[in-house]
Subunit: 154 residues, 2 copies
């Protein structure tokens, strides 16, 4: 199946998240989509670098999508840097200035404005990293061995 | 393909590791096979529990396999608990008493002797957890999106 055919069948946000994950991987960071947070929210993409720094990327495929989300400041408590990823057609002036900005499509992404750092406390970083490790390993195990049906513990 | 046909094509150690990973998942821990350690060794299975406790399971499919490995004490530096997993036919008296013992086959496993705890220092635990998180997420990303070809950073 050609990429365009595959793309026609999925949500725009899912495609943008794929582009973000490719960029994240190309930079040597580990990325994970749909990462549940302890406050009940779910980060579209979480990325962890080699030093343990944690970024969250919220993907907004349209103005409506962006405006429907009033709780995005909640993500800040769970990362060192917060980005929005939007398509090139998105009016980027809507994105808050104190967040990083990523332009994305289904095949890749580019950081056009870095995100200011707000360092996590050590205990929070430890908890988020452990949850990330668990979720990634459990998802991997379920793909590798369909007999494994365990859900993430949290 | 029936499980027995699939089993005939893989190494015995790989099958035992699969059984160990099923047990690990059933207990709500996150497992990862072939986990590289900072000392150049590679753990057959690493498991992380909800509190961040790290276990390593070394899989030995035969006496020869066990005797060929003189460096297993090196694994202890990278975990809180060290286990050996062997098939039921293995003479378990060969397994050192200060290690846990798991009986495994390709479909599951059971802890028959718990492993004594030797707590990791905080910095080492942090480094191992971060490496585990990275490797699990990168492997998952590569399975989900074949366009991602990044190797684990370490």
């Amino acid at each position: 199946m050609a990429p365009s055919e595959a793309g026609a069948k999925v949500q725009p946000g899912v495609l943008l998240a794929r582009g973000v994950c490719r960029m994240v991987a190309a930079h040597g960071l580990a990325g994970l989509t749909e990462m549940p947070l302890a406050n009940g929210r779910r980060a579209d993409v979480m990325a962890v670098d080699r030093t343990g720094e944690i970024s969250i990327v919220e993907v907004k495929s349209s103005i409506e999508d962006f405006r429907a989300d009033h709780k995005w400041p909640d993500y800040r408590e769970f990362c060192d840097r917060l980005f929005f990823a939007v398509p090139e057609t998105f009016p980027v002036e809507l994105i808050p200035e104190d967040c990083g900005l990523i332009l994305a499509d289904g095949f890749g992404a580019e950081i056009v404005r870095p995100a200011p750092e707000h360092r996590l406390a050590a205990a929070r970083r430890k908890a988020v990293t452990l949850r990330f490790a668990h979720l990634a390993a459990l998802r991997l195990q379920r793909l590798v061995d369909p007999a494994i049906t365990a859900e993430a513990a949290w």
